[in-house]
Symmetry: none
Subunit: 261 residues, 2 copies
DNA sequence: TCGAATTTGTGCGTATGTATC
DNA sequence: GGATACATACGCACAAATTCG
């Protein structure tokens, strides 16, 4: 039946993608609507819909319900500097970062006690869970710059460390929003170092919605853990869309320890 | 009609995703089939199909036509530590990194003089090019662990710095393969700091072939620049497949080395 | 302000192809 | 070959959002 091996909706999507790559369709241009595609290619509305869905999930287009589907505009790439020097006293690290870009940082959050998932449990060095007993405070963040979402984060802090202290809720109390290093210092814990594991993957539908990006757009994933000596005191997942932000790590060479053994 | 605001297929996908996260469904387990979903949730096959499609495109499951849909197995992810402490004297940084994993590091390279592209030109602070005059040494690398490609890199060094010195070719002469910091030290240049800008994008066909990965797999892209005070002395593009490697940045709040593991 | 037209999003039912077991 | 299951594709309907007269 099919002369070509590739499915119909993919071939149509390819053709539109090629027209975008060629510059025939430019950023912001309107793509053919679903009824248009059914006429142009003699396919059903359902198949035309699959074409749209493919282009959107490949990040080439954005669909606006009730309006149309448009060639995606690529945002200007900004930089997020991840430097520990910046985590100085007072003020939020994120707000500081945004301020250097001349933008206003803000964030929503939602804290609750919970039982840590296995992966987090391992990173924090927690024992086996006992029943349904919560053992961490989990906080979900949406960080914004000038009101636009720029970063998602989920942080876990062991209740074994913070239970009964004034900083048990990261975004509540006198030291709210000042960052982990400063907050831990308030309860006598000196955060000595941190590690960030960086990877990347496509955004899930839910993440795409929260970040207001195309489904399937690529996210940098950072897994950060703070340590007080050998004791992990906080770990977090951080999600950053790569089409808007680069993450910059910088450091000095002359701080290096004596020659390796 | 909908009591809930989220579409039916997303709610079902969420439920399955939650069961995966909770460990109720483990890697390799079979998910409910489409007919099963239609019975369990009273939806049409079309909607059940949308559930599967969502889980697959979110990377949680793999669909095997004729067999079933299974919870995705995550390949074992190795870590590449990008720590400046490790750039100690003697030996190659990459070989050292591989050695800590019990693997043998090796690399192919190809050096030539060239005129730097605009983007590199900017990062190195080079003047406008004069005619066809080459102004950098460009070196392309394929790094391997136990013979398998794990990383691609392209490095540029200004001829204005290295011309006429014994280290003009990075992989030739007495200090070959010892890393930029050590090589520059041989000609009296003290590399003081570095910056790495991290992002990610799908692999091109050529990159996929060189790295022996699927076309379109996601690559971490690192743009690294070494500085001697304010003078850039080398810059490089580094490409790392995310399904095999994570990149770990560690540093200390008090200038201590990062945690052992 | 209202309503009609357009467009995407979701969902139903059905049929066929094709891969796996 | 037969049963099962995913993939593609048709037809239809309605909801929700947007646009525009």
């Amino acid at each position: 039946m099919n002369q070509e091996e590739r499915p119909r909706y993919l071939r149509i999507a390819d053709e539109l993608a090629a027209r975008i790559a060629k510059g025939e369709l430019r950023e912001g241009d309107k793509l053919p609507s679903i009824p248009q595609l059914t006429r142009d290619y003699g396919v059903s509305a359902n198949t035309a819909q699959a074409v749209i869905r493919t282009l959107v999930s490949d990040g080439l287009a954005v669909a606006k319900s009730g309006s149309g589907t448009y060639v995606r505009k690529r945002a200007q790439v900004r930089q997020l500097v991840r430097s520990w020097n910046r985590n100085a006293r007072g003020g939020s690290p994120f707000a500081g970062e945004m301020a250097t870009q001349g933008r206003i940082g803000s964030w929503d959050y939602d804290s609750r006690t919970a039982q840590a998932p296995a992966e987090v449990r391992e990173r924090l060095g927690l024992d086996e869970p006992s029943g349904d007993e919560p053992d961490v405070v989990r906080t979900d963040y949406v960080f914004r710059g000038d009101g636009e979402p720029v970063m998602l984060s989920t942080a876990w802090e062991p209740l074994a460390i913070t239970r009964g202290t004034p900083i048990v809720l990261p975004e509540d109390g006198p030291h709210a929003g000042q960052g982990v290093v400063e907050r831990m210092r308030q309860i006598g814990i000196n955060v000595t170092h941190a590690a960030e594991a960086v990877s990347a993957r496509p955004a899930t539908a839910g993440e795409a919605r929260q970040l207001d990006i195309a489904a399937g757009a690529i996210l940098l994933t950072i897994t950060r853990t703070y340590y007080a000596d050998t004791q992990p005191v906080e770990t977090a997942h951080i999600l950053i869309p790569t089409d808007q932000y680069q993450v910059v790590y910088g450091t000095s060479i002359w701080d290096e320890p004596p020659p390796a053994d």
